[in-house]
Amino acid sequence: MRWTAVFCGAGVLTLAALFSAGLSAAAAPHELRFCLNGDPKTFDALHVSDDNSELVRFLTGGVLLRINRVTDQLQPELAESWKLSEGGRAITFHLRSGLKFSDGSPLNAEDVARTLKTALDPKQASPAGDTFRSTGNTEVRVDSPLDVTIRYSQPKPGIDRLFDTLSIVPEKAGKLPASAGPFFVSEYRPGDYVQLTRNPHYWKHDAAGKPMPYLDSIRLDIQPNREIEVTRFLRGETHLVNKLTPEAFDRIVREKPAAARSLGASLDSEFLWFNQSPSPAVPEWKRKWFTSVAFRRAVSASIHRDDIARVVFRSHAHPAAGVISPANRFWFNASLKELPFDPQSALRGLAAEGFVLKDGTLRDRDGHAVEFSLITNSGNRAREATATVIQDDLRKIGIQVNIVTIDFSSLIERIAKTSQYEACLLGFVNVAIDPMEQMNIWLSSGEQHPWWPLQKKPATTWEAQIDQLELRQASEPSRTLRKKAVDELQRIVAEQEPIVYLVNPDYLTAISPSLRGVQPVTAPPQILWNIEYLTLE
């Protein structure tokens, strides 16, 4: 038994890290500093699959078009103009003249075509190319040194907006590849820091003709410990903390109130669902409960979402109404309202299904006491506390909930592969605004379809409806018609509650008052989306 020694060892390491953090080199005058929570796994913009690499890609990558995170409108970047044609099947870009990568090499239509072909090549397994792939042929044609056309055999909805995530890469990519964005990776020390330096060949100039970006460099310190990250910010060693827990945010409010910024409800959501698949881990009588919409709605109505938001998230969360967070203004179905907390109506609904509450225990019509296990990942204190609130709320209608916290990989194994669970409490961290990104969750045949993955055909009529709506929104070129399909999908999910949405946590961040030009938004990268406009005083 040496666990106590391990614990003490961790404490010593933490102190050592704090001490060394205090000794780190002083920042250059126009150098932005903040922490990454881990090493970026790659600097290859086409093979980014983790958050840290994605942030570096955003800061260094040159894209054809950029979605303005405030107005949600597309704005030209490397492409001076673009044109959609053939009913949304083709898009033609006209590049700016004189574009260069950070190493001084020219950037032209050949580079754009090569980047796209690499991203689309299935052998490359490029995550960046996933959203660009489509059934049928995709043609990439260079029309001139400044013009390139991409043509699909079928309409590709929202094709122009996809280019916000595709960074154009040079032909020869070394360990630290050149880039066409505002910065380039100039130095990387694994486990220590990533240094980004201003790209002297970046095309953008401000209205006064001054070259952008305004910052000289960005230093990203690798710091997995969030407490230390906050402590360093409070000491003035870094300029921002990208995402804060409610507790850390309250600490910033106490100690550096001018730096604390709450952006309101984020795109993320916390929710629970029941395992409806025919799994041997779920007895048939329990499966009957889980597949009953009355049961799911009763559970949902008995959970006090306001209390979860107020007590667990310290008032830094909002009760959720459904699939899409209200922060996603365009796609959110504004007609949806959160289900009210009403245990009495829940009991009436259950009684109509044959459930009886007697001596504090709810029993189904066959006399089985209603009891289920709720798994969640260990180490996430807010989620564990949410589970405890749910346990207490459901006890009041006679349901016994057994909370099981297990490590994250075991949890994923259970929900995605073995189906060895009854109910699961988790959250989604949404990185994209477009609901296209959630197709793998909503299609009944999807691998990540939570309550019953990989269905051969939809088990219920409402699931079949959801499938149709998903496919419709994925193939419809008109944004308005897509919105209509997504609205209907949200309505069905709110009615059937296969997933019981709980809260949308607020996006909490800390920004030093010395950092100017910031326009924080809830869509990633929340603080840094207009990096070329930021300045330091």
């Binding site: 407490e227 507790e247 297990i406």
Partner: protein
Amino acid sequence: MRRALRRAAACVLILVGLCALLATAIAPYDYSRQFRETPNAPASHRFPMGTDDLGRDRFSRLLYATRVSVVLAPAAALVSILIALFFSAAAGLRKQWANQALSGITTLSLSLPWMFLFIILRAVLPLNTRPLASILVTFGLMGVAGWGWPARIFTASISQVMHSGWLLQARAAGISPWRIACIQIWPHLRAIAIAQFRVLIPAYILSEASLGLLGLGVAEPLPSWGNLLAELQHPDRIHDNPWILAPLALLMLVMISLESLHPTTFLHTTREVAV
């Protein structure tokens, strides 16, 4: 002075034990009751140690947690000692090969990565295990896992005694192995067994605390010192409510009391045997 210290330590342990056993009567509230209007409340007349994140009374939870940790840790220690005694006696009183086999098993037991085994165990336990069953299994396994070190010590002691002249005399006189074990060997082992028992109790309390920090200990809403100590991962909370430190203070008090009892009694018992 030493006697006064021992008495004080014994009083503390008895008091803590009584509080633990009478938790249901003493605690003002049920350990799981949530006063959601007053989360993280400071100490007051209504809540003597304030409330936690979910508005649960810290004092009531500490009493129940003490019952869990203080009652089950000695039980687990007893399991370890009994297993260690059984194996050591079986090996010591038999032939050389048995001794070597025990040595091999002990080495294997000591080299096993028990932490990972605990994680695997949590993964294979039925999900609908109630919190009480879960905590019994956790402490039971700690008891089974922790027999290696005491067994090493017992085996060495038995081996020493087995080569003494008076024991050879006893064997030559035809006294049965069982009688030799009870009358000749046990008095020598008793002091070591008691000392080992006392060493294991705080070790298990701390192990449960460590498991709790990893989310592998006692399931909610049942409190234990482990899951109460987990709050210390956020040291800035101490400023708002210093009573967060109460479980740590109580754990240290119990450990110091156990240690204060331990060496004196050990020497005393050894002296008795030597005489």
